[in-house]
Amino acid sequence: MGNEDAKTEKKVKKAKTWSKNDKIFLGILIPVLVLFFLFNTLPLLKGFYYGLTNFRGYGNYDFVGLRNFKDLFSDARVGKSYLFTFKYALIMTLLVNFLSLVLALGMNREIKGKNALRGIYFVPNILGGLVVGYIFSFIFTYILPAVGEATGIGFLQNSFLASTKTAWIAIVIVGAWQGIAMNTIIYISGLQTVPEEVYEACMLDGAAGWKKFSKITLPLIMPFVTINLVLCMKNALMVFDQIMSLTKGGPSQSTESISYLIYNNGMSGGQFGFQSANAFVFFVVIVVISFLQMKFLGGKEEQL
């Protein structure tokens, strides 16, 4: 085999020489890296390149330098889509995490049918966002107005989806319906990592209720809070399926997320170059947000 020899050799001159085994491993690694580069890094670079052109998606194109990137900052529609996406992501993250933490705390108690409840609350997460959006679209356009009519509740009488002021609320509701499922499950598994003795000890100290939660439980499940905040924010920033099925960006572009704008104008609106620049900026924004989140939240974790 010669592998034996290679092993002893490795021990002699540690990291310098590559054993036969190392080379076999490298032989496997290289094709994987090539594949990853070809369909991840290369299109990212190409996207930046397209961002420097006035390409419309077909035909010839010219270089325009950084003009697209400059124009992005003065383009009202792009600005609006960023505002909408951030507003949506922020509200979603806070709302979903608050509700799922409450749910998880409830389900972590000694209650009946714990597993069944957990199974039921998780269902929205497995369903596809597009079809769920279509189903809720019916609720918003027909059921809620009918309920409003029957009960005389004013704000329900018009469809949420028809007004620029309320359409985003509909998207938050659908997003939260699906997002809470996921985050609750993660919080439950977080709460289960807190040992019983900790609660017993804190009971001896007389801590209960809110104090117990804020001083004991929350710091101990902080890693799970981090995961949930990051996951939820990331998913919300990419929102696409629900927009596609609920509003298609409307009414009057009030619910156009960045992903949707890139898709809509880039693929069929003749703005291939411009939206490529937009996509690249979006990528930079995501990286910055992810790093900030990890930096801020990572420092707050408490260890037993």
Partner: protein
């Protein structure tokens, strides 16, 4: 894991204990709503997790909360079985039971959306993607995980691939559409390739992390017995990573099955649909026939619902594992 099971057992014991003792009378519930407001009292009442009656109230609230999950699904089923003439403008029109439960809408929806074809495509894409992901990503995770501590090349490769998690599909969408078209894979093959690459960072990270649980001694023993690196991997390592295969399979399958964007932009020229994509592409044909549309939605949701009912434990476990690790 053991901890969790132990806890569950305790809970079950408690539940049986509760059902043996006579049911808490209504009065008691009223009392606890007071104690709930004054947490200091609670410390004397019961064990670490709080008073029994508080738990009953929470239990009831949680069960009521389930309605938010059931309502949209209930509505979907009801409307899917109705005739258009039964859909009046009030709430009952949409939510009351149909006069007759008939399957006509489903037959029509299957015809209109080419259901079996779309289902086949969804199954094909998901199945092939999951299989390739498990084979390729576990191998990549192994190769990188075993060497990254000692060799810088592998460490760099690890961080390079993991950093791919920051790149959302929307960012790569436009260049990828051009690229797959140029390469002649603007079809199901291209979609599978993209999934395999797109899920690589996450899956590889999971496998690399899991590898720490598999002792190096296993491989060394195989090596002494004269097995090649290739044999060692498939005979020893791959079977030992089984729990992680389950997690990866669940995560990959769920994301693939429900994904709209990738097939939407990549396969747009092929007239092939996945299940969600069919709902999008046939919206105009449903028109105002909501019964037909909802029959189609229900058909699109059913496969994953059935799958969930069968493998609920694995799915929840997989999702939690994937997120926490």
């Amino acid at each position: 894991m053991e901890n969790k099971e132990r806890e569950n057992n305790e809970v079950q014991e408690d539940v049986t204990a509760k059902s043996v003792t006579p049911k808490a009378p209504e009065k008691k519930i009223e009392k606890t709503s007071e104690t709930e407001k004054k947490p200091p009292k609670m410390k004397k009442s019961k064990g670490a997790v709080g008073g029994k009656t508080v738990n009953i109230i929470i239990n009831i609230l949680l069960v009521i909360g389930c309605l938010t999950v059931f309502f949209p699904l209930y509505m979907t089923v009801i409307i899917a079985f109705k005739k258009p003439s039964e859909m009046t403008n009030d709430v009952a029109g949409a939510l009351a039971f149909p006069e007759k439960w008939n399957l006509d809408n489903f037959a029509e929806a299957m015809r209109v959306t080419d259901f079996w074809h779309s289902l086949g495509n969804s199954l094909l894409l998901t199945g092939v993607t999951v299989i390739i992901c498990i084979l390729l990503h576990s191998l990549a995770g192994y190769v990188i995980g075993r060497k990254m501590a000692r060799l810088k090349t592998f460490k760099a490769a690890y961080f390079y691939i993991v950093s791919g998690m920051f790149v959302p599909f929307a960012v790569l969408m436009m260049p990828l559409v051009k690229q797959t078209a140029q390469m002649g894979i603007a079809n199901r093959i291209g979609v599978i390739v993209l999934y395999v690459v797109f899920f690589m960072p996450m899956n590889m990270m999971l496998y690399t992390g899991y590898l720490k649980n598999i002792p190096l001694a296993l491989e060394e023993a195989a090596c002494v017995d004269g097995a090649t690196a290739w044999q060692t991997y498939w005979k020893i390592i791959f079977p030992n990573m089984k729990p992680m295969h389950a997690t990866v399979a669940v995560l990959t399958a769920m994301s693939t099955w429900n994904d709209v964007m990738t097939p939407l932009v990549i396969m747009s020229g092929t007239e092939q649909n996945t299940l969600p994509l069919a709902q999008l592409n046939f919206q105009s044909q449903f028109g105002t026939n909501y019964n037909l549309a909802f029959a189609s939605y229900l058909l699109a949701l059913l496969p994953i619902l059935i799958f969930y009912i069968i493998c609920q434990k694995q799915i929840i476990g997989g999702v939690v594992n994937g997120a926490v690790k």
